[in-house]
Amino acid sequence: MASIDALQKEIIEDFSMFEDWMGKYEHLIEFGKSLSPLDDQYKTEDYEVKGCQAKVWLHTEIVDGKLVFEADSDAIITKGIIGLLVHVLSDHEVDEILNTNLYFIDEIGIKEHLSPTRSNGLVSMIKQMKIYALGYKAKA
């Protein structure tokens, strides 16, 4: 499994192919659509990430000592964004997740394209992912 850092670099390179917002958005939408949906049993209030206009659900589990994230949203752009986060962070050790600086969001040039409510949602999402990581660390 590639490191979080390597995955971030990969995404940055991916998005650098698109010059305008439309290309970036289309890429994000395609990416969102390519993600498998979250199992319905996790699409409940217990798994909901608050603070987003669209509904966002996040489910985590520890598999072979690594923290695995799965997420979904009822809005496709949101799903694309959280999909990127999941892609980068999932399946890594809790410590690596906690020590990560997520610089790819700033660099792929979508943050300025996110409306304030959407970037608040992004912040809530990242926070929630790190809170899960902290929780597992405390339990371990």
Partner: protein, 441 residues
């Protein structure tokens, strides 16, 4: 005041299309129309904010329902006030204070005239619609509501016309009843008849729905409520920016609205109430200005309107509201209504042409507010792509969650227009939605 039925046949409602169709009999009539027709380009020049690019595209501002933009006259009035005229009002003996008081009180007169209230002291300045309704819920709660009483609202209300009454019900043991809305966004008046009874104390409904644009048949609602001895509160936040309001003709007991949705500044609003009712009502906030004599044993309250205006008000905001009213009156509601009706029918026709677009609500009478969904796409996806193209719409539940539940949807995309919006902007919106459709697949 023209009632809704009359409005369609009044002369102001004749559009340029009808002129072309030779429906006008005389040249004289045609000339009147030409003089009255609003020129959006001239109007747009009065609103400095409209002339800018957003995300590399010319701004298309279609979020007037949330808050309208301000003409230069309003902005200038506020800065002139702070540069030359500011002083506290209703208290100083000095010249500046006297002048500021006089000017502020002139605005009360303008508001009175705007909504045709009988007296100036029936106009209470508040912070906005929300505060006006909370004032009523609080003060009526202490004087007119007890356990077992009933309060009626409608299913299309903004949260600010639901939650204050819910709080009152929790406190007093009164019950909240809800007039349902039909599939088209009209109130089910038959159900209203059944809800009304001798326990009904208050009926509080919107004049215009902020989500669907529905114009409610207020006269009928008011009359039926009065037959049962209930008081009627109208949330006019979305009406005043679009149509002339005559509170005496409506015969409502209270009418609430916000300055910032009618081209004035934020932080100011109005509560209109009938004189005798306001006199009976206990005060809301205590403090300076609302008293006539204070001792530790007993305080006597000031007379109307000051009894409900504790503390230093938003003076500059009030001045700005005055300038906004002047602006509206210079354009003339008849012209605004005619222009917006034409714009609305153009927008509805164009939007209906978009594949997969579903209008949410097609009410019998509609103000310039349109909610829609695009296929199965989430409103926030559509809104985000429109925003990238410089088009400002609102997405979400619009503070009307019970109404969203009624339609079984989480939210809508809402385009809300004003007299400075143009048909060209409707075309840009339509092209923007088409782009969203192709991008979202």
């Amino acid at each position: 005041m023209r009632t809704s039925g009359e409005r369609c046949s009044s002369k102001s409602w004749i559009t340029s299309t009808q002129v072309k169709n030779n429906k006008l009999e005389t040249l004289e009539e045609a000339n009147t129309i030409a003089v009255m027709a609003l020129d959006p380009n001239k109007i747009r020049a009065d609103f400095p904010i409209l002339d800018q690019e957003v995300n590399g595209y010319p701004l298309v501002y279609l979020d007037n329902g949330a808050s309208s933009q301000k003409p230069k006259a309003v902005i200038d009035t506020i800065s002139k006030y702070y540069e030359h005229e500011h002083s506290n009002i209703h208290r100083g003996v000095h010249t500046l204070s006297g002048k500021a008081t006089e000017k502020y009180e002139l605005v009360r007169g303008k508001v009175r005239k705007l909504i045709n209230a009988a007296h100036e002291h029936e106009i209470i300045f508040t912070r906005g619609t929300t505060e006006s309704i909370n004032l009523l819920a609080s003060s009526l709660g202490r004087s007119a509501i007890s356990e077992g009483d009933e309060i009626i609202v409608s299913e299309l209300e903004h949260h600010s016309n639901i939650v204050p009454w819910q709080l009152l019900c929790e406190k007093s043991g009164a019950k909240l009843k809800v007039i349902p809305v039909d599939d088209n966004g009209n109130l089910e008046l038959g159900a209203y008849d059944e809800l009304l009874n001798d326990k009904t104390r208050i009926v509080s409904v919107a004049h215009v729905s902020n989500t669907l644009g529905t114009v409610l048949p207020l006269k009928e609602i008011v009359e039926k409520a009065h037959d049962q001895g209930a008081l009627v509160v109208i949330d006019g936040a979305q009406a005043v920016p679009h149509m002339s309001v005559d509170v005496q003709d409506l015969n409502c007991d209270f009418y609430c609205f916000s300055s910032h949705k009618m081209f004035g500044p934020t932080g100011v609003g109005v509560l209109y109430g009938k004189e005798d009712l306001l006199n009976e009502l206990p005060p809301y906030h205590g403090g300076g200005n609302m008293i006539s004599r204070v001792t530790f044993e007993k305080t006597e309250y000031n007379e109307l309107p000051h009894k409900f205006e504790a503390g230093t008000p938003n003076i500059a905001g009030g001045m700005g509201l005055g300038a906004a009213i002047d602006y509206i009156e210079a354009l003339g509601y008849e012209n605004i209504e005619a222009y917006e009706r034409d714009l609305l029918s153009y927008a509805l026709q164009k939007l209906k042409g978009i594949e997969g677009l579903r209008l949410i609500g097609e009410p019998e009478e509609q103000a310039c507010v349109i909610s829609f969904l695009l296929g199965e796409h989430h409103p926030s996806d559509v809104g985000a792509i429109l925003d990238r193209q410089g088009i400002a719409v609102r997405t979400g539940h619009h503070c009307t969650q019970p109404l969203m539940d009624r339609y079984g949807i989480a939210g809508t995309v809402r385009a809300s227009f004003s007299f400075y919006n143009t048909k060209e902007e409707v075309d840009i919106l339509v092209a923007g939605i088409e782009k969203a459709r192709s991008m979202l697949g």
